[in-house]
């Protein structure tokens, strides 16, 4: 397998206070995978994503995107934060939020125009939310809000997508809709990295997985490493998830 490495993390260590949240993480994510990051609460899953994206400053270590630092490659990367990280009572519409995805390529001061609006509408259509474009965001259901966040990332037209628990608190219909979009992204050669909680669905949804609990436990293809051994090492209790070999 001589695939290009999309994201490379070296010796990454992050601490909030005294206790390290991430310890000496080395990680290589090949291009074109649909990868789950799994681990218990407090394992540093969101922290890992945020450190890669430069939202958090690591104590040590480096991150490269296609061989260059994030600051130089930011146009290649899109981010879907946790739904709960923003105030949905903010006075704005669904379309407006999705338009925000175009702000990065616009840069300072320049206003979005017809072209950006068209891209936002297309993204809304992709996530099945076109009918809600003028809806006030506080009048959307949790699943719909998640789709809006996904659409905002899609507008960025990136190569690598980072998503922080996109399935949290959404109903089955939305979950299926989202996973279908993620699989489509992979088919288009994009790399998708997802913080994920539901271990049962890992083999079905993802082809790559990283086990994380402050340290990296294992990373690789789901079919090779998603087993009771790694789950036990990560979660610390004896695990029996029946995985089809």
């Amino acid at each position: 397998m001589s695939k290009q490495i999309a994201v490379k993390v070296d010796d990454l260590t992050v601490a909030y206070n005294y206790k390290p949240v991430l310890w000496d993480i080395d990680l290589e994510i090949p291009e074109g995978v649909l990868m789950a990051i799994v681990g218990p609460n407090g394992a540093g899953k969101s922290t890992l994503i945020k450190s890669i994206l430069g939202i958090l400053k690591p104590i040590a270590g480096s991150v490269t995107i296609y061989g260059k630092p994030y600051q130089k490659q930011r146009q290649l990367v899109a981010y879907v934060p946790q739904k709960g990280s923003v105030d949905w009572d903010f006075p704005t519409t669904a379309l407006d939020v999705v338009m925000m995805g175009t702000y990065g390529s616009l840069g300072w001061i320049k206003r979005p125009r017809q072209k950006e609006k068209k891209a936002a509408l297309e993204a809304l259509e992709k996530v099945g939310m076109l009918a809600f474009k003028n809806r006030q965001i506080n009048q959307l259901s949790g699943g719909q809000q998640q789709r809006i966040f996904l659409a905002r990332a899609l507008v960025q037209n990136a190569s690598i997508y980072f998503m922080d628990e996109p399935f949290q608190g959404v109903d089955a219909t939305t979950e299926i809709a989202i996973i279908n979009i993620l699989k489509e992204l992979r088919k288009a050669g994009k790399t998708v990295i997802v913080v994920h909680h539901d271990l049962q669905t890992v083999p079905e949804y993802f082809d790559w997985v990283t086990f994380l609990n402050v340290k990296k436990i294992a990373t690789g293809p789901v079919k090779d490493i998603f087993n009771d051994d790694n789950l036990t090492k990560t979660y610390g209790i004896n695990f029996k998830v029946s995985v089809q070999e």
């Binding site: 206070n17 945020k50 994206l53 430069g54 939202i55 600051q71 930011r74 990367v77 981010y79 934060p81 990280s85 923003v86 105030d87 903010f90 006075p91 704005t92 519409t93 939020v97 925000m100 702000y103 990065g104 616009l106 840069g107 300072w108 001061i109 320049k110 206003r111 979005p112 006030q136 506080n138 905002r152």
Partner: protein, 375 residues
């Protein structure tokens, strides 16, 4: 002077015109910036800033010995900025939450300011009197140059707001995401905060340290009730703020012994109260009305559905049944029955009721109708 006299004098009388213009401009700029503070959940920031400005006023006086308002406000600006950035670094570097940091800085600076004020008052200097006007504000001391300064700052603020509108909005909604898009969030944040400090300091002379934060919050809180668009909210907040300034000045000028600052704040509060109650989408009144109406409709529909359930058992859907049968049904009252009759869904005869054809069909489609209306 009554209100009518005020409005006839406002264009000709120099003092009245100056004060009215000043309070209007002040209300507009604080309302505008207040929208940002409210949406960032930094409502108390204004309070901390205005209190933090007090020692700056005292120190500026101690150094220059002059009561020139521009010098004093410069002192206020410096200490307001120092206080604000202390709050930021406390939040960043310690585990304290921002409300604790705000409270700490507010009381620390205000306490220090009061200490200096009492010290100044004990000085054998004829010039000392009048510094305490910055505590509660004194609009009457506004002169034309003050208004010009306010106008210039407001113009500048408007220009920056329009220029960085997209960035401000993005930061307000989702700061982390803003960072990943490559914007310097620290720069945007400092820009917004500096303007908030500037606006507050400008208002100290008119409204005073103690009440200044209301100028920031009240128009914004009122505006939020009327709209779901950020641009409209900022615009409305500016309008509400400006009108609070004008009405407040008018009321206080038409009575003797009514201090302008507090009256302006009270007028702004009336805007808030009115908006909380009467806003069509978010107001308490219409919410309650919608709630009651919705409940009543549901009661009516459920009763009809219950009757439909009984009527179904008969071949003839309009077969009469005893009213008694309905007594055990929760939500049924004589009134609902009357209403159903008015709607031609039900016919009454003595102690018996029967469903009409229309009533039966409506009942049959109730649930599907309800769910399509929801869409």
């Amino acid at each position: 002077m009554d209100i009518q006299e005020y409005f006839s004098l406002v264009f000709s009388d120099y003092t009245l015109r100056t004060i009215t213009l000043g309070t209007a401009i002040l209300g507009a700029v604080t309302g505008m910036l207040g929208s940002f503070a409210v949406l960032r959940k930094q409502s108390l920031l204004g309070d901390a800033i205005s209190h933090a400005a007090l020692p700056g006023i005292a120190i500026a006086f101690l150094i220059t010995g002059a009561k020139d308002s521009n010098t004093l406000l410069l002192g206020a600006l410096v200490s307001g900025l120092v206080g604000t950035f202390w709050i930021r670094s406390i939040v960043k570097k310690t585990h304290l939450k921002s409300d604790t940091a705000l409270g700490l800085i507010l009381s620390l600076f205000f306490g220090f300011g009061m200490l200096l004020l009492t010290f100044i008052q004990k000085q054998p200097n004829a010039n000392q009197a009048g510094l305490d006007k910055y505590l509660f504000g004194q609009a009457a001391t506004l002169v034309e140059s003050d208004v010009w300064l306010m106008a210039i700052v407001t113009g500048l603020c408007l220009f920056v707001l329009l220029l960085f509108w997209k960035e401000f909005k993005l930061l307000l909604f989702d700061a982390d995401y803003t960072k990943t898009l490559g914007f310097n969030t620290k720069f945007i944040d400092i820009l917004i905060t500096s303007f908030i400090v500037l606006a507050i300091v400008l208002g100290l002379q008119t409204v005073g340290v103690v009440l200044m934060s209301a100028m920031l919050l009240a128009p914004a809180a009122a505006a939020r009730q009327w709209t779901n668009s950020l641009a409209t909210m900022v615009f409305l907040a500016a309008i509400f703020g400006a009108f609070s300034g004008v009405f407040g000045t008018a009321i206080s000028a038409s009575q003797t012994n009514l201090s302008t600052g507090p009256v302006i704040v009270l007028v702004a509060s009336v805007f808030v109260l009115f908006s909380f109650v009467f806003s069509p989408s978010r107001g308490l009144l219409f919410k309650q009305i919608r709630f009651i109406k919705n409940r009543r409709d549901l009661e009516l529909h459920k009763t009809l559905a219950f009757m439909h359930h009984i009527a179904e058992t008969h071949e003839n859907v309009s077969h009469p049944h005893a009213i008694k049968l309905l007594n055990s049904f929760q939500g049924y009252t004589r009134k609902t029955l009357q209403k159903l009759v008015e709607m031609d869904y039900v016919e009454l005869e003595g102690n018996m009721w029967s469903l009409t054809k229309v009533g039966f069909e409506t009942a049959e489609n109730l649930y599907t109708k309800q769910s399509t209306e929801d869409e």
